[in-house]
């Protein structure tokens, strides 16, 4: 059946199709989740950096360095360091030296996390890694 006054069904369908194609094309430009992810990671990274710096200023990093040198248990000091992390976030700390993990504390609750590293020049170099995710 043909309409006498205005557009046909075919015209409307092709117009809708055209809009749909254009919308798809335009939406592919934007990936809002990536952007949010970057900002979220930046926030977590900043918190991780603060946790490490606070630990340094409080003297916990020196304590940790002494424990690494004398090959003592690190968990208690790592726990002290993790206490600077806001309670609504999850924090994981570990110490890495000569290809092995010397000690770790905490778990992450999300695959999206921010990370900061602190290097210690001891007899053999050690890296303290702090990772923060949503709680």
């Amino acid at each position: 059946m043909r309409s006498t006054g205005s557009l046909t069904l075919v015209d409307s369908a092709s117009a809708l199709g055209f809009i749909f194609v254009l919308l798809i094309a335009s939406l592919t430009h934007v990936n809002p989740s990536n952007n949010t992810l970057a900002m979220e990671m930046e926030y977590y990274q900043k918190i991780a950096e603060q946790v490490l710096l606070i630990s340094v200023v409080k003297g916990s990093m020196k304590e940790l360095a002494e424990e690494i040198e004398s090959e003592r248990e690190l968990t208690l000091t790592l726990l002290k360091m993790a206490l600077s992390c806001p309670s609504e976030l999850a924090c994981r700390l570990y110490v890495y030296s000569e290809g092995r993990i010397l000690g770790s504390f905490g778990v992450l609750h999300d695959t999206i996390y921010g990370e900061a590293r602190f290097f210690l020049t001891l007899k053999s170099g050690a890296v303290v890694i702090c990772q923060i995710s949503a709680g």
Partner: protein, 318 residues
């Protein structure tokens, strides 16, 4: 004219759809632009934060490294009874090369150098509160006198290899190691020097047996009062000695005071050194020092002999 009208309607619809789509496309492109701008800013900010943390990492790590290195060196100097000037043997080459390797691993193009580095006897408190906090030390303490001031400048210039973000700064390290190596050295050398000066006046015109006892009494009196004075500044000491008197000829006898072991310990609550990866008190040790002098006697020539007394003195810190 239905055909004309249909064409007109179709044109209006098409034009409005194109207009709508153009607006959508424009919004989408500008949104994408904003998103990439935010993303780039975030990336740069993350890189800049990381560079700042790395720079502070270098500052705090150098401070801790110097504190440990100075502690180890002071421990060795004390054990061997050496001079604190030996502290000048400490260099920063090892730290600089390790730190540069670390930067490379982190993907940071970095230049670091220490244009100024000095270790001095502590006199006036000019320490940095944050760096002292890092070492878990109070900013000032009466027992810091004669400790070791650590002064260094650290120039840091960092560039993130991915984002090309730069960070440059100059840190001043004004820190301290509380081991009072200057004080320990001063007390030990002064003790020996003073004995050398006043000992020739010790002695008596009695028999050799009595003379050796007299010399011991005077030596013990002197040593006790000297070391007790030091104990008020939190130093503990032990001296093991040997006094030897022998007749040389009719009018002279020789007196020898052997300081077999003079041990002075820094009892300040912060003064610890590292020995075999363990914290240890700092013991300044002088061994086998000898003070000898000739004493003119008036006792009878038949009183020939050779008398020796061995003893120890212990003085705890007050």
């Amino acid at each position: 004219m239905p055909d004309k009208r249909r064409v007109k309607d179709a044109f209006i619809w098409s034009a409005s759809i194109v207009y709508l789509c153009a607006i959508l496309l424009f919004c989408s492109i500008s949104q994408a632009g904003m998103a990439s701008l935010i993303s780039e800013t975030t990336r740069n900010r993350m890189a800049s934060d990381r560079l700042q943390l790395t720079a502070y990492n270098l500052l705090f790590d150098l401070n801790l490294y110097l504190y440990n290195k100075v502690g180890e060196e002071a421990y060795q100097i004390a054990v061997s009874g050496g001079s604190p000037t030996l502290l000048s043997k400490i260099t920063l080459e090892h730290w600089l090369s390790t730190a540069k390797n670390w930067l490379k691993v982190e993907g940071i193009d970095g230049e670091i150098d220490t244009p100024y580095f000095e270790l001095n006897q502590h006199r006036v408190s000019s320490q940095d509160a944050v760096l002292m906090n890092e070492l878990a030390l109070p900013l000032s303490d009466p027992l810091y006198i004669d400790a070791i001031d650590i002064n260094a400048d650290l120039n840091v210039s960092l560039r993130d290899m991915r984002t090309k973000v730069r960070f440059q700064t100059l840190f001043k390290i004004r820190s301290l190691n509380p081991i009072r190596i200057f004080g320990l050295n001063e007390i030990a050398t002064k003790f020996c020097k003073e004995i050398q000066i006043i000992a020739p006046s010790w002695g008596s015109d009695k028999s050799i047996n009595e003379m050796v006892k007299d010399v011991e009494i005077q030596f013990r009196d002197f040593a006790r009062s000297f070391l007790q004075k030091a104990s008020t500044q939190s130093y503990a000491s032990t001296v093991s000695y040997e006094i030897h008197v022998k007749r040389v000829n009719a009018i002279q006898c020789q007196v020898i005071i052997k300081l077999n072991d003079l041990n002075i310990t820094d009892m300040s609550k912060y003064a610890y050194g590292t020995a075999c990866s363990k914290l240890a008190r700092i013991n300044y040790r002088l061994q086998h020092r000898e003070i000898r002098w000739e004493y003119s006697t008036q006792f009878t020539p038949k009183d020939f002999g050779d008398v020796k007394i061995i003893g120890n003195i212990y003085v705890n810190s007050a």
